[in-house]
């Protein structure tokens, strides 16, 4: 969820003043409003990346729909992955209010010119991962996203309100799956622990690099696109999660994790940032697989989308003829 943009220019016009005033009084910018080109570009990139993340994020969990070990869990998981498709829809719609189409954005994704959240480049290796993704990954996503409900761009903020509501439902479901498994057999408890061991550090990486290595944070905050720094959000997530891990009975794989009485927060170790950069650069365990899957599905569906378009054209033409 990093954002890159041109250097911000000094406000020159009345329009630009109005824009900054709107932001300053925490009102929303709407599609019809004037906005600086850099703001628009930043938003398109961020909203598209967020939409892509929802769509790519269908894969790691979707891989387990066919193997869900109970019918109840199958229904929950299928509904969750379906929600992710729905989130993708809202977000592409929000991006469309900024003048780019879903098809254009998807082409940017499958040709590697736009990114998605790196967390989805980690594999799902057991059914416990479905729970862990709900608990840790959705948990981290919520920490990142709740502030976005108040983001300055109206359609994005409103989409986020709906998405956050559903995400916290998913997070509770994930936690509940893990809790149930921890009450099961030894093999199930081992499966949960193994899953948490794999997902803990990647979850921490979801907040992005440390603040001192995050060049765009300041500008995004000034624009009201971002409202907290990466490290603030990461700390909030750790503080929220540690007691949940204790309640669950799993060990978080960080020897440096300890309550800091003075700060009233948990101290914790640093993720392997080199690994994050490798994953961002495309060399994570699943980057190639995720992109190949999405590309195949998109290309294989081309003839259907073309047929729908041709049919709609014909229908329109026939209706116009009738009307004439």
């Amino acid at each position: 969820m990093s954002v890159t943009a041109e250097p911000q220019s000094v406000p020159e016009s009345a329009l630009e003043e109005q824009f900054h005033a709107t932001i300053a009084r925490k009102d929303r910018i709407e599609p019809r409003d004037w906005m600086p080109e850099a703001y628009r570009r930043t938003l398109v990139r961020q909203v598209a990346q967020h939409a892509h993340s929802e769509i790519i994020g269908m894969q790691p969990e979707g891989a387990w729909i066919g193997r869900a070990p109970s019918l109840r869990r199958k229904a929950i998981l299928l509904a969750k992955v379906q929600d992710e498709a729905g989130h993708g829809l809202y977000l592409y719609s929000a991006a469309e209010t900024l003048g780019v189409s879903r098809a254009e954005l998807t082409e940017l994704l499958v040709t590697g010119r736009q990114k998605y959240s790196s967390i989805f480049n980690y594999p799902t290796l057991s059914y416990a991962d479905v729970g862990t993704i709900g608990w840790l990954v959705d948990g981290a996503a919520i920490c990142n996203q709740v502030p976005l409900c108040r983001t300055s761009y109206g359609p994005y903020g409103r989409a986020m309100i709906r998405i956050c509501k559903e995400e916290s439902f998913h997070q509770r479901q994930g936690y509940e799956l893990l809790r149930t498994m921890m009450r099961g057999t030894d093999a199930q408890r081992a499966m949960v622990q193994e899953s948490v061991d794999r997902f803990w550090w990647p979850s921490l990486m979801m907040f992005g690099p440390p603040d001192d290595a995050s060049p765009h944070t300041a500008r995004s905050m000034a624009w009201g696109v971002k409202t907290h720094t990466n490290d603030e959000l990461r700390q909030r997530f750790v503080d929220m999660t540690v007691p949940q891990a204790e309640a669950l009975g799993v060990t978080l794989p960080d020897p440096d994790l300890a309550w800091n009485e003075q700060r009233g927060s948990y101290d914790f170790g640093q993720p392997d940032w080199d690994e994050l950069w490798a994953v961002v650069a495309g060399d994570g365990p699943c980057n190639a697989q995720r992109l190949a899957h999405r590309t195949r599905a998109w290309r294989e569906g081309a003839w259907v989308r073309e047929a729908a378009l041709a049919y709609a054209e014909r229908e329109r033409a026939e209706h116009e003829e009738e009307a004439a």
Binding site: I55, G66, P69, A75, L78, Y127, L177, G301, V304, R305
Partner: protein, 263 residues
């Protein structure tokens, strides 16, 4: 009770197996709207399957697979995850591979047009549970049929490529049509007992629906013969295609690895 239970398994397995197939479209569909629609249909069928398997277990606990003493696996999951192919009773139409989107559309159209008519009559079942499942299902299946019917016409009248694929899909799916209306002994007994529906009795209504779809699409009925079974037996007798055992292998893999698991 054995008849009622087996009859519920038949209807339940149809829904379970097709749900499993359709869920495979999730993240593989032509666009997000279809990812969502296929997931919706799969969810509806999964819901029907759960109610029907639970009813089967209640009607005849003897048909529920045994697990190690103390296993917390509920009945619906024992039935879904611990039966082998020969005990699974779905029609073969539900289990065949999806092929492409066109073939998936044809399969859903045929399946839901048929099941909708069955459920329309099943609403009057003497078994209150079955009647309630059917009443709920009628609404769902109407949506499924209309979704598939719309795409059926769009693909037929879209491009030359989509029409070619739709016709191919029709020819691939149609040989499994006759099996839908071949009354199994259990279905006959269930119908006679007033709890079930004889599928032969809904054939004319289903045909009318399909003819309407074919008409709107500007297509003839495909000129293909029915796929034979093995010594006259097919899905309802547990004599399936090779596709089912692979489907079950995947579907049951986690559950079977943990026969005493809690999920």
């Amino acid at each position: 009770p054995a008849t009622l239970a087996t009859y519920c398994l038949m209807l339940g397995d149809d829904a379970l197996v097709l749900s499993q197939r359709l869920a495979q479209w999730c993240s593989n569909a032509p666009d997000l709207e279809e990812d969502i629609a296929f997931a919706n249909i799969a969810l509806d069928l999964l819901g029907q399957a759960r109610l029907l398997l639970a009813r089967a277990a209640a009607a005849d606990p003897g048909q529920v697979p045994a697990l190690p003493a103390g296993s917390p696996v509920p009945d619906e999951d024992r039935l879904a995850f611990f039966r082998d192919g020969p005990q699974v009773r779905n029609v073969r139409l539900a289990e065949i591979d999806d092929g492409d989107f066109a073939q998936a559309v044809v399969r859903v159209l045929l399946f839901s047009a048929w099941r909708l008519e069955l459920f329309t009559d099943l609403v009057r079942s003497r078994d209150a549970v079955l009647a309630a499942v059917a009443a709920k299902g009628v609404k769902e299946l109407t949506y499924h049929r209309d979704f598939a019917g719309r795409w059926f016409v769009v693909l037929a009248r879209g491009t030359a490529e989509s029409r070619r694929r739709l016709v191919a899909g029709l020819e691939a799916v149609w040989p499994y049509r006759d099996e839908l209306f071949a009354t199994h002994g259990v279905e006959r007994a269930a119908a006679q007992a007033g709890v079930g529906v004889d599928p032969a009795g809904v054939e004319a209504r289903v045909e009318a629906v399909l003819d309407q779809a074919l008409g709107a699409a500007g297509l003839e009925r495909p000129d293909v013969r029915p796929r034979s079974g093995v010594q006259g037996k097919a899905g309802r007798d547990g004599r399936h295609t090779e596709a089912l055992s692979l489907l079950l292998a995947e579907m049951q893999s986690v559950a079977r690895a943990h026969p005493e698991g809690r999920w």
